[in-house]
């Protein structure tokens, strides 16, 4: 199959291949590559795809891919590149008379204007006679020098056939939103999660810890219909904290043109949810509270519920019927949060549906066994965003078969994210056994 160069953004490196694979499946475009050629420190990866049209389709929604380039040549020196390009002279004729443009870039170094012009002149043997257009050129050629102290230099050359959707990052920038909160996920990662979930037209996506609704927005942007719930109604309604008075999550819907597709939000405890039994959702996309900025809680009372308190008469009516009644909550420990989330996903996802969620982990203690498992959920991706003493991992799981109600998760050891909140505030000092 023809070769193409994937030109990645050089950040969130651990997430890039996961996104590429998710898009390959979503867009139904087969992409082949040797994983050994993937280098975290490099923005380039050579892949094989059946055609330029398919290559463009593959990356059109990508958040971590800048563009995809039809491979013409690469090597340690420009002469190596020229030699490789000369092997396919028939191809140059296709671009002899059309308008064209050269983009010259360097990674790990900067090139002066003179150097760039010399690079372009070096390709004059291609004999293009058409007009040069800086905007709207019919053929855009790309040259990039890759410099890295730890590796050999490389020069890349080809024709750009498709671009990703990094422009969405600016459009969804949280600073531009009418409503946000201190737990609002940044735009780049919110968009990435929508791709991991393969959010698309026709799908029904749920966020059980919806907060200020970032994932409802990004999944709806890609065509899915979305619903969210949260135990804290104030975050949904926007009646406390940040940007009070703008009507909460609803305030953002018109701005992003997703009013028809953000279906509803509701107030309830994800671990005691009122959904009717059986599969309802095509994807669950969420950032569960780790207990650090947003205290994870669930319905209940520390020390045990005291139902009689709710029934106590106040001014002649039962306490719980009064409009100012707030049911008590208790702390919701991290490993319980995740265990319940997996159980929720196992029951409420349709087969083939995906769970995409963030798992906080403690650096230095994390092992692969910390990622919870479930008999009907298969691990698809696990990408780390490091913060020094801790990390969070974006976990993608796919439901592979119907749930048999007798199957449950049996954890064998305490994962490193157990009691995450206490660990965080004690600076991850080792736990005494």
């Amino acid at each position: 199959m023809p070769k193409f160069i994937v030109y990645f953004a050089q950040l969130h490196e651990d997430f890039r291949l996961a996104e590429l694979n998710a898009l390959s499946k979503l867009e139904n475009v087969r992409v082949e590559y040797d994983p050994c050629n993937y280098i975290l420190e490099s923005p380039f990866l050579v892949v094989e795809i059946s055609s330029a049209e398919q290559a463009a389709k593959l990356v059109r929604r990508a958040i971590l891919i800048r563009s995809i380039i039809e491979y013409w040549g690469s090597g340690r020196t420009y002469n190596d590149v020229y030699a490789e390009v000369r092997q396919e002279q028939e191809r140059w004729a296709l671009y002899k008379t059309c308008s064209f443009k050269f983009t010259v870039d360097a990674f790990g170094k900067s090139l002066t204007q003179e150097e760039k012009i010399r690079v372009i002149d070096g390709f004059s043997f291609l004999g293009f006679e058409g007009p040069i257009r800086m905007r709207g050129a019919e053929a855009e050629f790309f040259v990039c020098e890759e410099h890295d102290e730890t590796r050999e230099e490389r020069v890349w050359f080809g024709r750009i056939v498709g671009t990703g959707s990094r422009d969405l990052i600016d459009r969804f920038d949280v600073k531009k939103r009418k409503y946000l909160g201190n737990t609002t996920m940044d735009a780049e990662l919110s968009l990435l999660m929508a791709n991991q979930a393969q959010a698309q037209n026709g799908m029904f996506v749920y966020d059980p810890f919806v907060g200020t609704g970032s994932f409802l927005l990004t999944c709806a942007h890609f065509g899915a219909c979305t619903v969210g719930s949260d135990i804290d109604g104030r975050q949904i309604r926007g009646t406390a904290g940040f940007k009070r008075g703008v009507d909460g999550i609803r305030a953002n819907l018109a701005q992003y043109n997703v009013e028809s597709r953000v279906i509803d939000t509701a107030v309830f405890d994800a671990s005691r949810n009122p959904w009717r039994p059986g599969p309802l959702f095509d994807a669950i996309v969420t950032d569960p509270p780790y207990g650090v900025r947003a205290g994870a809680k669930r319905q209940g009372r520390v020390g045990g519920t005291k139902g009689e308190l709710a029934l106590r008469l106040v001014d002649g009516v039962a306490s719980y019927t009064r409009p100012d009644y707030y049911p008590p909550t208790e702390p919701y420990e991290m490993s319980d949060v995740i265990r319940d989330l997996l159980a929720l996903a196992a029951e409420k996802l349709v087969v083939g549906g995906r769970l995409v969620y963030w798992l906080p982990t403690v650096a230095g203690e994390y092992t692969a066994q910390d990622v919870p498992e479930h008999p009907v959920l298969r691990l698809v991706a696990n990408s780390e965003q490091p913060f020094g003493s801790w990390s969070r991992r974006l976990i993608t799981m796919e439901k592979i078969k119907a749930l048999d109600l007798h199957e449950a998760i049996v954890p064998e050891r305490d994962p490193a994210h157990k009691n995450f909140r206490d660990r965080y505030f004690s600076k991850f000092e080792p736990v005494e056994l």
Binding site: G202, F204, G233, I236, I263, D264, A266, F268, P274
Partner: protein
């Protein structure tokens, strides 16, 4: 709250587990608003098997909303059916009011279109 969501919610009070009584929840004092929305046939057709049609008929009759009794053989080709379904489940919003359980009488309040499904301490 749109009717598609209502069609998926049941009462979850402790020991309220008669499936015929806890679902669907009955509206009380419902203030409705019709808001036009972009029709999305792919979504509608995909959701049909996940809806509880019997419950949807009960609810739409309660509220005076039109809905065909039966789902056609090929809903994707039945424009009138899809339009009626779209209007009923995606364009009909319950802004205020409450949902009552026919089993245990718990009332879930709806404020500004957002239902509060939190339980009181003696109900969990």
């Amino acid at each position: 709250m749109r009717l598609i969501t209502h069609n998926m919610l049941k009462c979850h009070v402790k020991n309220c587990d008669n499936p015929d009584k806890q679902f669907p929840l009955r509206f009380k004092g419902a203030e409705l608003e019709q808001v036009e929305a972009e029709r999305n046939d792919e979504f509608l057709v995909r959701m049909i098997p996940r809806l509880d049609w019997r419950a949807l008929l009960v609810t739409t009759k309660e509220l005076g909303i039109e809905l065909p009794e039966n789902i056609p053989e090929e809903p994707e080709n039945d424009d009138a059916f899809l339009q009626a379904l779209h209007t009923a489940i995606l364009e009909t919003h319950v802004k205020e009011g409450s949902m009552v359980c026919n089993g245990c009488s718990h009332e879930y309040k709806i404020t500004k279109g957002i239902p509060n499904m939190l339980l009181a301490e003696h109900e969990i």
